[in-house]
């Protein structure tokens, strides 16, 4: 079979594969799936804001405590929460949802930039997420219960938890984001090459 024949076979295959559309049910199904997709995106964007609002509401009454050290700790946690929220929102807005109607090379480059931002965020997660929150939470506890063995144990637990979160983030970069970035890079090289 020559390539011209291959072309004919290909196009004939497309014609025989065509089938009658049940228009009403197709539109219904696609509308339903598109709505579900958009709901998922909206919920993903809102979940961080909701979590921060809940945590802030739970911590705010502690600002009225008489111990200054507790108030400092709460202020640190709230400031860290706000900073985290703004940093994540900025990263998301900077890249926005992919434009699926753009040329393939543009979509791949945009995806690569988005992944680079994610990798940078996760690699620096210790400094902009874990340390400020852990320090704030330890200071709040020390303010509430004083310098004691319980405070030491609590601090150790918070540090361990922070360490676990850090390791999980490193793992996500190494096993998820970097391989995806490399795959994108290979695709771009194939496109350009």
């Amino acid at each position: 079979m020559s390539l011209e024949q291959a072309k004919q076979t290909w196009q004939a295959g497309g014609r025989t594969g065509a089938r009658a559309l049940d228009e009403a049910s197709l539109v219904r199904r696609v509308r339903r799936q598109a709505s579900a997709f958009e709901r998922r995106i909206r919920w993903r964007d809102r979940i961080e804001s909701v979590a921060i609002l809940i945590a802030s509401a739970a911590l705010l009454p502690l600002l009225l405590r008489p111990e200054w050290i507790t108030r400092v700790g709460v202020a640190v946690v709230l400031a860290a929460g706000l900073f985290i929220f703004l940093k994540l929102r900025r990263a998301r807005r900077r890249h926005g949802p992919p434009d699926v109607s753009a040329p393939l090379a543009d979509v791949l480059r945009a995806e690569q930039e988005r992944l680079d931002t994610q990798i940078r965020l996760l690699e620096g997660v210790l400094w902009w997420y874990i340390v400020p929150l852990c320090v704030g939470l330890i200071v709040v506890f020390v303010g509430l219960s004083g310098w004691s063995t319980a405070s030491l144990l609590y601090a150790a637990a918070v540090v361990l938890l922070g360490g676990g979160i850090y390791l999980l983030n490193r793992r996500a970069v190494a096993r998820g984001l970097r391989p995806r970035r490399e795959k994108l890079q290979r695709l771009l090289e194939r496109l350009d090459g």
Partner: protein, 169 residues
């Protein structure tokens, strides 16, 4: 029926074969193909209001469909690619061919098998070539230069022709 629904249905009915072929070459089994086809329809529906006619309708449709297909594959765990030069795969049909239609179907299956041995980018190029798109249109869909399309097509056509000769199609 709304204007958006009418435009969507027209687009899908005019391009159903193309969309199914894209699903076929970028998904491995019937269930995944059906999922991919549905996902492409959803993305076409979502993107439709932003279609302003800057590109032709078919260029726009190929972009949405190919970006969706490749996006889904990227999100999946990477799997090793089969080298083009490896021997015939499990699709080889050894029984007698009862009629011309079956023969033509088998030819098509072998063509698909050859295409599935290409990497994701080359699959897109050959798909557009077989769909009779011009170099300009292929370049517009992929976001590369026309000369690059020519180089790629030259290489792919050679490999595909060798493959088709090898399997005696």
């Amino acid at each position: 029926m709304s204007d958006r629904e009418e435009r969507f249905l027209r687009l899908v009915s005019e391009n159903e074969g193309r969309l199914r072929r894209i699903s076929r070459i970028y998904a491995d089994d019937p269930a995944s193909r059906s999922d991919l086809y549905q996902e492409i329809l959803v993305q076409l529906w979502r993107a439709l209001p932003s279609f302003r006619g800057a590109a032709s309708a078919s260029t726009w449709l190929y972009r949405v469909a190919l970006n969706t297909a490749l996006g889904i594959r990227r999100r999946r765990r990477a799997r090793p690619e089969v080298a083009f030069s490896e021997g015939p795969a499990e699709w080889a049909h050894e029984g007698p061919l009862p009629d011309e239609r079956l023969e033509s179907k088998e030819r098509l299956e072998r063509l698909y098998a050859g295409i599935e041995r290409l990497d994701e980018v080359d699959r897109a190029v050959v798909l557009l070539y077989l769909d009779d798109r011009s170099y300009r249109q292929i370049a517009d869909v992929l976001g590369i230069s026309e000369s690059n399309v020519g180089v790629k097509l030259h290489r792919i056509r050679k490999r595909l022709a060798e493959w088709l000769r090898e399997v005696g199609v």
